[in-house]
Amino acid sequence: MYSEKVMDHFMNPRNVGEIEKAQAVGEVGNAKCGDIMKMYLQIENDVIVDVKFKTFGCGSAIATSSMATEMIKGKTVKEALQLTNKAVAEALDGLPPVKMHCSVLAEQAVKAAIYNYAKENNVHYEELEGFVPDEDHDHHDHEEEE
């Protein structure tokens, strides 16, 4: 059901852990499906120089967290804000339809971390307009037909 890339990122996740003095920390989740994702960003001169994550969730949640961290590492904050869940899923050679929402969580976790960073440092990113950090990211409406 999962691609080899998903299984690789699941079994050997990149960037697991915490950054003690992270400039940006974001946690998103939905206790209903059991997923919680936490992102730590170290930002220097608007560049994400390091990133770590911790995830309580399914195989797809862990793999997308891992892939998302790889995709934003070394990028500017603005570039990181362009990250979409689709891009993460594609980078993993796709996800089963019922598991697409897990990738949404990864996108949201990055955004939540940057949101907190922006708030604390009083910077404005137009990409974050309309973003609500503690929204219940429950996208479990992928139920198949009756």
Partner: protein
């Protein structure tokens, strides 16, 4: 891949060699339709009768009380819809529990849309119903009680005899889903006093797509599948002779060595539970400590999620399950684990290991060796664990 060990016997079982051997001639040699009067048909008919006798014997039922179906789910649907629609003139109230298999639960929900009223009984932390709750739930218009014999996720065994006794006293039809109990418990329909009982072949080393419904002699229920005159006009469709023959053989084998089977299962189960609980912290055994299926282990591991646990186990060749295999298409936490009072998070981190006839003590060793580091690795990744361990990391 490394070693492969199967610990998911409650989801399905491999067919025993003797079962397959018994089935083979009926695929293309003695393949006749038992309704035909020629020799090919008569061969099928004879095989059908023998298989029916074998299954009946294991339940201490009469042969004419056994009706073959296309599986356990069909048997459950037939029993419940058949009894409900046949008794509609007497009332429209049905009693069941919150921890039934979906084949029962979704059937009851469907009946609610069709004008029936259903009471879903709570269970205690071990998954047992309270007999007083049941008594209180019974009303003037109660026509059917359907309560599973043993639960497929946590293995808890209900007081079926008591329930049947109460139902008889109140003149209410009683159905039990014995799909998981069959082959793992001595079941005597007459001693129990049940009216309807469902079983399924693929849970007892028989073929998939074959089941049976025991219908107490004299009880009328509507058919679910109308048509030809098969199964005494109560279940239409050309009989799946190879499948039914296989079911007969599997039933016979299961009952020949029931005691040995139960002992072996219990030994492996107990060792698994003991060693896992002792080695891994933050765990919880789900289900009843003693009133449980001989092969069922169900343990919650805090701070981790079931699917990642299953995938990690699969990577080292261990096949297990998280809640019911039938529900793994869904992302909702198991309704059974919720009903025994687990939180969403903990329900998600549950592991079901179900042992079977082909498991060995070495398989058990293998799980005991492989599981702890996997749980640890996932916990190290978990933001929830972090909070518990505090500055520990």
């Amino acid at each position: 891949m490394n070693r492969r060990v199967y610990f998911d016997y409650s989801a399905t079982t491999p067919m025993k060699k003797e079962v397959l051997e018994e089935m083979l001639p009926f695929f293309n040699t003695d393949f006749g339709n038992p309704s035909s009067i020629h020799s090919y048909g008569r061969q099928g008919k004879t095989a059908l009768d023998i298989a029916r006798d074998k299954v009946a014997k294991t339940l201490n039922a009469k042969s004419e009380e056994i009706f073959f179906t296309g599986g356990g789910s069909e048997a459950d649907n037939w029993a419940i819809k058949g009894a409900a629609f046949a008794s509609r003139s007497k009332g429209n109230h049905i009693i069941t529990t919150k921890i039934e298999h979906h084949a029962v639960l979704h059937t009851c929900e469907y009946l609610e849309k069709e004008g029936f009223e259903v009471t879903y009984l709570d269970v205690d932390q071990y998954g047992l119903i309270d007999m007083d709750d049941l008594k209180n739930a019974i009303k003037e218009n109660t026509i059917l009680i359907t309560i599973m014999y043993a639960n497929n996720e946590i293995g808890t065994i209900q007081p079926i005899k008591e329930i049947a006794h109460l139902a008889k006293e109140k003149n209410i039809i009683f159905h039990t889903d014995a799909v998981q109990a069959y082959g793992n418990e001595i079941i005597d329909v007459h001693e129990l006093g049940v009216d309807l009982l469902s079983i399924s072949a693929h849970k007892v080393y028989g073929p998939k797509g074959v089941g049976a419904l025991y219908i107490r002699k004299g009880l009328r229920i509507h058919p679910l599948i109308h048509g030809g005159a098969q199964e005494k006009r109560r279940r239409a469709g050309t009989e799946n002779i190879p499948g039914i023959v296989g079911f007969g053989k599997a039933a016979e084998l299961a009952y020949e060595n029931m005691e040995g089977h139960i002992n072996k299962m219990e030994t492996m189960r107990n060792r698994l539970i003991k060693e896992i609980m002792e080695t891994i912290p933050y765990t919880k055994l789900n289900g009843h400590p003693t009133k449980r299926l001989p092969g069922n282990v169900n343990i919650s591991f805090e701070f981790i999620e079931g699917e990642s646990l299953l995938l990690s186990l699969d990577m080292v060749g261990i096949a297990a399950s998280s809640g019911s295999a039938c529900t793994s298409g869904s992302l909702d936490p198991s309704h059974v684990l919720m009903a025994i009072g687990l939180s969403h998070e903990i329900a998600h981190g549950s592991l079901r290991l179900t042992v079977g006839d082909f498991n060995t003590e070495e398989d058990v060793d293998y799980v005991i060796e492989k599981l702890p580091p996997i749980v640890d690795r996932l916990r190290q990744m978990s933001p929830l664990y972090e909070k518990v361990k505090g500055g520990n990391k």
